[in-house]
């Protein structure tokens, strides 16, 4: 039996010290979490002291405390946003009723499933990023990777807290299982497809944090509307941390583009081979990575028509993105939404009941947000005087889930036959050769202020520290 002082080791605002049952449950789980971290967490990093942002409370002063910490000693706190005792359910069939502080029996299974699915993605990304520390393009980037890793770890804690606190014995079992599945494991993989894909290199990592962590933002935002108040408050707080992950992706790709543009201008060329020879990543490769990560990520929103989505919404478990800001009736009965399907070799839109199309609604919100960021990437090229622009592929491109699964489609949205797909695949998605080339650039650079040749330095350091700050102290 461990003798951990939880209120100190695990900063929390859930009265952990006074909840004996919960404390005992977490005492059982905690050593397994540390074992998991040691086994599949960031490789070779045990003795590094990393300049991390740690949350010790949820107020502005408390949730962004910076300092050098060994990742194993990071304080994986449990935080819920401050509650409002009078909060009302603001959508679905229970609209106007008081938000639930406990899990209603009839929604127990669905809520548990939602929480487990969300929880499963958190350790998965740590596992997917496990080897990246060995090829970091700079000490600054290494630090950002580790920051993301510890926060994904904390988000796992957040979901485990909900399972332990509100779901009794099966909650504890589900919490155990979160540590037993492993990303990419043939026998016991992570629940969602994208979380079993490899993150082989840093360009993939930046695309992943840009697109896939943005999926996290939209899922968390939808859960932050939940009628189950503890879930709403937990995910609200997680959202503030998720922002950093998207930042790493957005600024990471921007910096890759800035470097590529610089090389193109210096050499006065747009020939991908010359760009590659100069040690930068050509724009075509970047576009192909984008196509891949974008299409894999939009699959994460699920089938375009789903009765589960309708049930989750109507029963108040999961709202829409920014539900509170929408002007409709928040019940959505009798309304329709347009989804895509292929008919006679053509893409057509059809109206389906809105409630069944809520995955598509969330996907479309995500798409709008992603596209705006791609516009910001294009500004980098525009400023450098490079005429090429990045674009997101068509929504139906390379989909594996829902009505569009398996349909062969060009990035512009033209249905193509197998032959054309086979011929063009490597133009549209990263080829083995692209991966090999990007991998060849991945050498480790960890001297303060130095950067690998394929990426520009960031505009500013973390927490107003200089770019050449010692973000990681190697033990």
């Amino acid at each position: 039996m461990s003798t951990i002082n939880y209120s100190e080791k695990i900063p929390n605002n859930v009265n952990l010290g006074e909840d004996r049952t919960l404390q005992r449950a977490l005492e059982g789980w905690q050593p397994n979490f540390i074992n998991w971290w040691d086994d599949v967490g960031p490789e070779g990093s045990t003795n590094h002291e990393v300049y991390l942002r740690t949350a010790v409370s949820v107020d502005p002063q408390g949730w962004a405390q910076f300092g050098h910490v060994k990742m194993r000693d990071y304080r994986w706190g449990i935080f819920l946003n401050p509650g409002d005792a009078n909060r009302e359910i603001h959508f679905g069939d229970h609209k106007g009723e008081k938000a639930w502080q406990d899990v209603p029996g009839e929604h127990r299974a669905n809520l548990r499933r939602i929480i487990v699915t969300q929880g499963d993605t958190e350790p998965a990304s740590v596992e997917q990023q496990r080897h990246l520390g060995l090829t970091a393009p700079s000490m600054y980037d290494l630090r950002n990777l580790f920051q993301i890793n510890v926060e994904e770890g904390r988000h796992l804690w957040a979901m485990v807290y909900l399972l332990h606190k509100h779901f009794g014995r099966d909650g504890r079992e589900e919490a155990e299982a979160l540590l037993q599945r492993t990303s990419g494991d043939a026998n016991n993989p992570r629940i969602l497809g994208a979380f079993n894909e490899k993150t082989p290199d840093w360009l993939a990592f930046f695309m992943f944090t840009y697109f896939t962590d943005r999926d996290g933002k939209f899922q968390l935002a939808a859960l932050a509307e939940s009628a189950f108040d503890p879930l709403a408050r937990t995910t609200k707080f997680m959202l503030t941390e998720e922002a950093h992950h998207m930042f790493v992706g957005e600024s990471g790709v921007s910096r890759v583009l800035a470097r590529t543009a610089q090389v193109m201008n210096e050499l006065k060329t747009d020939d991908p081979l010359k760009v590659r020879a100069a040690g930068a990543i050509d724009l075509g490769t970047i576009q192909r990575y984008l196509n891949f990560h974008y299409s894999v990520t939009i699959d994460l929103f699920g089938a375009d028509q789903s009765s589960n989505a309708a049930i989750f919404y109507s029963s108040g478990l999961k709202g829409r993105y920014e539900e509170g800001k929408r002007g409709d009736d928040h019940v959505l009965k009798g309304q329709t939404y347009k989804v895509l399907e292929v008919k006679d070799g053509q893409l057509v839109e059809k109206d389906v009941p809105m409630l069944n199309a809520l995955n598509e609604v969330l996907r479309d919100d995500f798409i709008k947000d992603s596209v705006a960021g791609v516009g910001r990437w294009n500004k980098v090229l525009e400023k450098a005087g490079i005429p090429t622009r990045l674009t997101v592929p068509h929504k139906a491109f390379n989909r594996q889930i829902g009505a569009l699964a398996g349909i062969k489609m060009s990035p512009e949205g033209r249905v193509v036959n197998e032959v054309e797909w086979a011929a063009k695949r490597d133009e549209w998605l990263p080829s083995a050769e692209d991966f090999a080339f990007v991998a060849s650039l991945m050498g480790r650079v960890v001297e303060p202020g130095k950067f690998a040749g394929w990426i520009s330095p960031p505009v500013m350091g973390i927490n107003r520290q200089p770019v050449d700050f010692e973000y990681v102290r190697f033990g």
């Binding site: 942002r53 949820v58 107020d59 502005p60 002063q61 408390g62 949730w63 962004a64 910076f66 401050p82 409002d84 909060r87 933002k217 609200k236 959202l239 503030t240 998720e242 922002a243 950093h244 998207m246 930042f247 957005e250 600024s251 947000d369 705006a372 960021g373 910001r376 500004k379 505009v459 500013m460 350091g461 973390i462 927490n463 107003r464």
Partner: protein
Amino acid sequence: MDMAVEAGVIKQHLIDPEICIRCNTCEATCPVNAITHDDNNYVVRADICNGCMACISPCPTGSIDNWRTMPLVRAYSIEEQFTWESLPAELSTEELEAAGVSAEAAGDAAAAVPAQTQAQAQAAVESVEPVFNSAQYGATVPPWSAAHAYTNLFAPKAPTTATVVGNFNCTEAGFDSETHHIVLDFGVVPFPVLEGQSIGIIAPGVDAIGKRHHARQYSVASPRNGERPGYNNVSLTVKRVTEDHQGDPVRGVCSNYVCDLKVGDTVQVVGPFGTSFLMPNHPRSHIVMICTGTGSAPMRAMTEWRRRLRKSGKFEGGKLMLFFGARTQQELPYFGPLQSLPKDFIDINLAFSRTPGQPKRYVQDLMRERAADLAALLKDGASHFYVCGLKSMEEGVVLALRDVATEAGLDWDTVGAALKREGRLHLETY
């Protein structure tokens, strides 16, 4: 201390649209709802942002930490900011001068920006003239012996309700700067506060563009166990705002609402706020309080808490010293009660800048007169300094402290840095 604030120049808080990733963290964090967005940009409302810096470290990109010296009348509107693709350049000295802003005033605006952004502020005004940045000496940590403060229990979106149980005019009636002492009761709702913290009040109704009023902050004037000990209440010291910083007549939205409240009325409250402007609690700690006007509120809270403790036999060793400025004696809130405090309990120094027939005296003049005592306190690691009141007083007060230190043979850079690091110099000016 002159109550009128000089020059219509502000340090405007802006977000760099080129770096911002539109993650919403700042909007979710800002305690007074100063941040908003459209599909294009995240922007800060110049008239609401009070520079509290709560949004700075949570922002993952650093894009939030941008400040521009601007003539108030030319402050960028949010509509303008929504259209930006990049930040506009800092106005040149000539442009500022053309708008009637002197180099000195631009410097003042820079000094008003809290310590964390001093580097940027400094860089921004370097072309104008080197300035003494008083704000850089202000601590962001509390004294080591301070009690733990609760903050942000009630966010702007979920305020709590308090009932007015007292409202007294505590300046002589008939003076422009009427100041009220308001007591609010929270009933059974937990609202723990410490001396030095502030709370926010949301006035009812909407502003000119139809949005709910943002919360105005007020320092707590009562000690931790309540204005009336053992009851769940706090008191505030609120000055009716009847003219703006330029001296033009204006009816301040929230201060007038609060001053006109009747016993039994209810108000919407957010907060509490503040984690560093907190009093030391160890028995040998000294407290030096320097304030003007309603800046006396936290000083009253601290004094009253010490007075209650003293009655119970604690704090024999710790000294209390107060420097308090107003235009006239009549405008000094709490003047009567102050006079009846025993001399061996608190060393009171009052400065009046507008007493007819008398030379103007400001708090910093009094501080220089008491240099010998202040120097002794500056040498003592148990001394804590608190400055609260109008922005325009801050620089003069910190300069006076510097001069006192220097004349006593102390190295101000060392002393000032220690005061900051150890949470012993606190600045709260508005």
